[in-house]
């Protein structure tokens, strides 16, 4: 440590760069670290890849598909034409001649909006409430948790049904929020528990000692540690939106006069004897499979992106680290039982 090259401390602390990078170089570096490295990690995982592909398909279906495939109208084709018969109606038609594929595709945008609204609402509410409560503690914590507990104990389904019946919403964003109206409460409690543990960590105290604002501490130190949890719950909320909407349309609580929706399709197909005869089977199964596929894609995506928040995985994929001796058994450090 005594070589001539080592700067004196006073010089070290006063060091200023000799050259500066151009703006472009700086941007490239930021993108590499912030976007490409995480993206590489996510892509490396098979589950994530599958999930991303499926989700992209759905998004494509919602955005582009609606332009390519015609809107379903009655009497587009023969009634109850079976699937895989023609290119005009690849999935067949329903009992009033509407193209099944067209219905699937055109229901997608609404569905995606609902999922987005519901998922975002639940996650943001839960994270904000849980983190604030857990981090601040004391009477604020008790007050917030009392409200949360009340929200949690109100029975979900009847509440949703009542709200849906009373407000008869048609905007998919509103529907999405209503469908997950009190799901945030349970999640908030869970997040709060995690935050309680994290906030006692030494590095959180160090950040406070550095004078970091509360917002800054929450953003830098607390959130990254709970992100995997948050992500999984986003996906769960999204799936619940799918099933809830399908269910509620199915039992007729949500109004569906002019709406094309997979749940509606299931309802009509069921009423039209989809379960009894093979004639209407394709009409019933198409939306079922679609729902299952979307749900599966969401789960895969969540499981895959979870890895992105693991610093060990992130280090391994970073191209800028020369030595990568961290395959779970790093070169011995104190505290290892070796």
């Amino acid at each position: 440590m005594d070589s001539v090259d080592i700067l004196e401390s006073s010089e070290a602390i006063e060091t200023v760069a000799e050259e500066t990078l151009s703006r472009r170089e700086r941007w490239v570096l930021t993108i590499e670290r912030g976007v490409l490295a995480p993206a590489r990690i996510v892509w490396a995982d098979l589950r994530a890849r599958v999930g991303i592909i499926i989700l992209s398909l759905f998004v494509a279906m919602g955005v582009i598909g609606t332009r390519i495939v015609d809107e379903p109208r009655t009497n587009q084709g023969e009634r109850l034409e079976p699937a895989f018969q023609s290119f005009a109606h690849p999935l067949g038609t329903d009992s009033v001649g509407r193209d099944v594929l067209g219905q699937i595709v055109h229901a997608t945008p609404n569905m995606l909006l609902m999922i987005l609204a519901g998922g975002v609402f639940t996650t943001v509410m839960a994270t904000a409430v849980g983190t604030t409560s857990g981090y601040l503690g004391g009477s604020t914590d008790r007050a917030i948790m009392s409200v949360t507990d009340i929200a949690m104990t109100i029975p979900g389904l009847p509440l949703v049904v009542i709200l849906a019946a009373a407000l008869t919403p048609t905007n998919p964003l509103v529907i999405g929020v209503i469908l997950t109206i009190n799901a945030w409460a349970g999640l908030a409690r869970a997040i709060r528990s995690q935050v309680l543990t994290i906030r006692r960590s030494s590095y959180v105290e160090a950040s406070k000692a550095m004078g970091m604002s509360t917002m800054s501490v929450v953003r830098r130190d607390i959130l990254p540690n709970i992100m995997p949890y948050v992500l999984i719950n986003f996906v769960t909320a999204a799936r619940n939106v799918i099933f809830a909407s399908v269910g509620l349309y199915f039992i007729g609580v949500l109004p569906y006069d002019n709406i094309v929706n997979w749940g509606v399709m299931i309802d009509l197909a069921y009423q039209g004897g989809g379960l009894q005869s093979m004639e209407a089977a394709h009409w019933l199964f198409a939306p079922l499979i679609t729902i299952t596929l979307l749900s599966f894609g969401l789960i895969m995506f969540a499981q895959g992106t979870d890895r992105m928040f693991n610093p060990r995985v992130r280090a391994r994929h970073s191209t800028t680290t020369k030595t990568s001796d961290d395959d779970g058994a790093p070169s011995a450090s104190p505290g290892d039982n070796v």
Binding site: S331, D336, V338
Partner: protein, 347 residues
């Protein structure tokens, strides 16, 4: 047996209770084979307290685990560990069946693990822990609990109070002592302790070390005390073995280790240990860092950090007896006085 003496040079005519031969523990990792115990031979004598000193990453915890054939998966333990029971049987620990191993552990050789303060079940009172252990091994609970009460009071604990308490109601020092009592409740012959006092207060550490000596005398035990804290174990051990880079570099009686350590690493370790007596300026850190288990240097594993190193050190030195009481693995042990000891231990 002269063969035995050649392998463990400090064996006098005392009888060994554990004979370790060619012990190897390795892990297969992506980046190579990690050898955390490298061809170790050791005799542990009946009734002695042997201290094994090594830093993190020296392999000491693995050595402890291997004595009970308890090395975690996917580690592979090879070699021989011959246990000679008091009735003259010889058992190779590494060769035992699952069922025999289960009986062997805790009844013959018992262990106090590192970080053991959290090894109690928080939902069970201490009494239940003892009863559970006794029942699991088919020992009579009545006399077993009596023995437990005796052990606890030998360790300066109030048996009734402690047995009725839950783990969280006891302090760290109390839990550690209770753990020692639990390890001894089935009357084993050998007690292996891996850093048993690491998380404890100074006073408690020192007191427990004193207690252990008493316990050894009273219950006729053999003890293996594994730690990174050399000064602590000198108060207790009869012999001390120094582990570096997964093998023994020195094995000698305590006095020799303190007064005339023969291996450069032992000297460096003594010089680098902060203590109350040595002059400050002479406490020196050890240059360099410990080797990676996947990448141990050729020849003597210490030669890259050793001030006495020469070309010959590229050949692995043999671990051999150099005086009556000392064994060392070093080509230059005769010149060892070139490394002065700062501790200047009083006569």
């Amino acid at each position: 047996m002269s063969n035995q003496e050649a392998l463990d040079p400090t064996a006098s005519s005392t009888d060994p209770i554990l004979e370790i031969r060619n012990l190897n523990v390795q892990f297969e990792m992506d980046r190579g084979t990690s050898r955390v115990i490298d061809d170790v031979d050791l005799d542990i004598h009946r009734g002695e307290i042997i201290g094994i000193v090594g830093e993190s990453g020296s392999g000491k915890s693995m050595l402890a685990s291997s004595l009970l054939d308890a090395v975690v998966e996917p580690g592979v333990t090879t070699g021989e560990i011959i246990y000679r029971s008091p009735d003259g049987e010889s058992i190779d620990v590494l060769d035992l069946s699952e069922e025999a191993l289960r009986k062997f552990r805790w009844e013959q050789i018992s262990m106090v693990f590192q970080g053991a303060l959290s090894s109690f079940n928080p939902t069970m009172a201490m009494r239940e822990h003892f009863e559970e252990t006794l029942e699991a091994h088919g020992y009579p609970v009545g006399s077993g609990m009596e023995r437990a009460a005796n052990l606890l009071s030998d360790l300066y604990l109030d048996p009734d109070r402690v047995l009725d308490s839950y783990p969280h109601e006891l302090s760290g020092g109390m839990k550690q002592r209770a753990l020692i009592a639990l390890a001894l409740v089935l009357e084993p012959e050998v007690l292996v302790m891996d850093e048993p006092t690491a998380a404890l207060d100074l006073l408690m550490q020192r007191s427990i070390v004193s207690l252990l000596a008493d316990i050894r005398d009273k219950y006729d035990l053999t003890m293996v005390f594994i730690t990174h804290d050399l000064p602590l174990v000198t108060k207790l051990a009869d012999r001390i073995g120094v582990l570096y880079a997964f093998e023994f570099v020195e094995l000698a009686d305590t006095e020799s280790i303190l007064r005339e350590p023969a291996h450069p690493y032992t000297r460096a370790l003594l010089n680098a240990t902060p203590n109350l007596d040595a002059p400050l300026e002479e406490m020196r850190p050890i240059e360099g860092s410990a080797p990676d288990p996947v990448n141990v240097p050729e020849g003597c594993s210490y030669h890259e950090r050793c001030p006495l190193a020469t070309d010959i050190c590229r050949d692995q030195p043999i671990f051999e007896q150099v005086t009556d009481t000392q064994a060392v693995a070093c080509h230059h042990w005769e010149d060892i006085d070139e490394i002065p000891l700062t501790t200047e231990v009083d006569q």
